[in-house]
């Protein structure tokens, strides 16, 4: 068999790369050559993915990791040893270090707290739909709807001024673009941490009723740690849901019976959102874990030091767990998908993301019952060049 290399290029917009999808039917783990030449593994099986993501013998620390995507090899090389060496960037920590940060934050993202935000998310959504309608057709759904809603919500929650979005959206785009050069990535990281560090000084001088002010006043974290935490929450908070709203709408437009169900049947919405999360799995590269000792997984021995990458889009279509998973069916029991990850790093903001989508999709489809693409489908620019998948633009009319 020829050497397996990770790719983000797809034959069809909603299906994982064929070359990787085909592996899914063969075995749960496959030998993968990482972009720096490291010989590790790629996971495509659901039970293996869950087992590894929940296993403390696999580390998420940056110093053990290897890049999967060739375009990222240069960046990884230049940043080796300092990649995200931002204190407080707890995504790339193991327990118990990770636990300290996570526990400071989880109280802010509980199911109940997020439910309390529902009226405000509804208000923001309505205002964006009004603005989109007033601006007239055709419209770019990403610019008018998918990006502003989660951006406004996370800015308000964290206490980041929305007026500053041009700067942090540009930085976050550069950080997530697979083709960004090492210097661009480093500049964007500096710009983002510099911006947030200054913001934290302002919150210290003048605390408000927001999450960052709360953390500053809590006094548990030093300013550089607060910067790392805010960095993580800001980027994770708007790039993810924004892409789900954009790509999800595109998928619904291409599946009119599913679109009608999302629009007309409130009992479909909650599970329908889970199914869109599963079917689309916008986390198309990563996560990556590294074995701290030899570990046997479903008959395969992952050696100490070996890196394990995951193709979550393929994992979420494992026929043993989601039979017929290549089609979008909003009534399929979709719970248990791994789009938010699994184990101690499972998405902190997932309950917020759910609320934004449960409100967003039906509100959009009800406001514009005749919503349709304004260009032929092949002209919709797909984000195969970004760490998080989605659409760059979605031209629509109604």
């Amino acid at each position: 068999m020829s050497e397996l290399i990770m790719t983000t290029d797809r034959e069809r917009p909603f299906d994982p790369p064929e070359r990787i999808a085909e592996l899914g039917g063969e075995a749960p783990l496959h030998r993968l050559t990482f972009a720096d030449g490291h010989e590790g593994w790629l996971v495509t099986g659901y039970t293996a993915a869950r087992a590894i993501l929940a296993d403390p013998r696999f580390s998420n620390r940056p110093e053990y990791t290897h890049p999967t995507i060739p375009a990222r090899a240069e960046v990884a090389e230049k940043l080796r040893g300092k990649e995200f060496a931002v204190p407080g960037f707890f995504l790339r920590m193991d327990a118990p270090e990770h636990t300290r940060y996570r526990k400071l934050l989880t109280g802010q993202f509980t199911v109940r707290r997020m439910k309390q935000l529902e009226p405000r998310v509804e208000e923001i959504t309505r205002a964006r739909l009004d603005a989109m309608e007033a601006a007239g057709k055709p419209a770019d759904l990403v610019e008018q709807f998918a990006l502003p809603i989660p951006s406004l919500v996370i800015c308000e929650l964290l206490g980041v001024p929305y007026e500053d979005r041009e700067r942090f959206q540009r930085d976050s785009r550069l950080l997530l673009a697979l083709e960004s050069g090492a210097d661009e990535v480093i500049d964007a990281m500096r710009s983002m941490t510099g911006y947030l560090y200054d913001l934290i000084q302002r919150k210290r001088a003048e605390p408000r009723d927001d999450l960052i002010s709360g953390l500053v006043q809590g006094g548990e974290l030093a300013d550089d740690e607060l910067t790392g935490v805010a960095f993580l929450l800001l980027v994770a908070g708007h790039e993810t849901t924004a892409n789900m709203l954009g790509l999800g709408t595109y998928a619904l437009l291409r599946n009119p019976d599913q679109l009608a169900a999302m629009r007309d049947d409130p009992s479909v919405v909650d599970n329908g959102v889970e199914e869109l999360l599963r079917y689309l799995t916008i986390i198309h590269i990563g996560p990556i874990r590294s074995a701290l000792e030899d570990v046997e997984v479903e008959g395969v021995v992952v050696r100490k030091g070996q890196a394990v990458a995951f193709s979550l889009p393929v994992v979420n279509r494992d026929p043993a767990r989601f039979p017929g998973g290549d089609s979008l069916d909003l009534t399929r029991p979709a719970g248990g998908h791994l789009t938010f990850g699994h184990g101690i790093h499972q998405c902190l903001g997932q309950q917020l993301a759910r609320i934004e989508m449960r409100i967003g999709y039906p509100a959009l489809l009800r406001r514009f019952p005749g919503l349709r693409l304004a260009v032929p489908p092949e002209e919709v620019p797909m984000r195969t060049d970004m760490s998080i998948y989605g659409v760059h633009r979605l031209p629509v009319t109604w």
Partner: protein
């Protein structure tokens, strides 16, 4: 059915509270699981099993 919850392992993802709010809640302090009903009624047992499976951190277990 008897549910056990280990708050030292819990990461507050909220899957349990989302799945069976009658049985699980989360602390406002650190988001970790709060058991409202350690011995849930029979009609909720399936949902509780689903919540235990969904828990990302392995904080929940069932002692029959």
């Amino acid at each position: 059915m008897k549910i056990k919850a280990d708050t030292t392992v819990c990461i507050g993802a909220g899957m349990c509270a989302l799945t069976v709010p009658q049985v699980f809640d989360q602390s406002d302090e650190d988001g970790t699981v709060v058991l409202l009903e350690a011995s849930p009624p029979a009609e909720l047992e399936d949902a509780v099993r689903r919540a235990v499976t969904l828990c990302p951190s392995g904080a929940l277990s069932i002692a029959e």
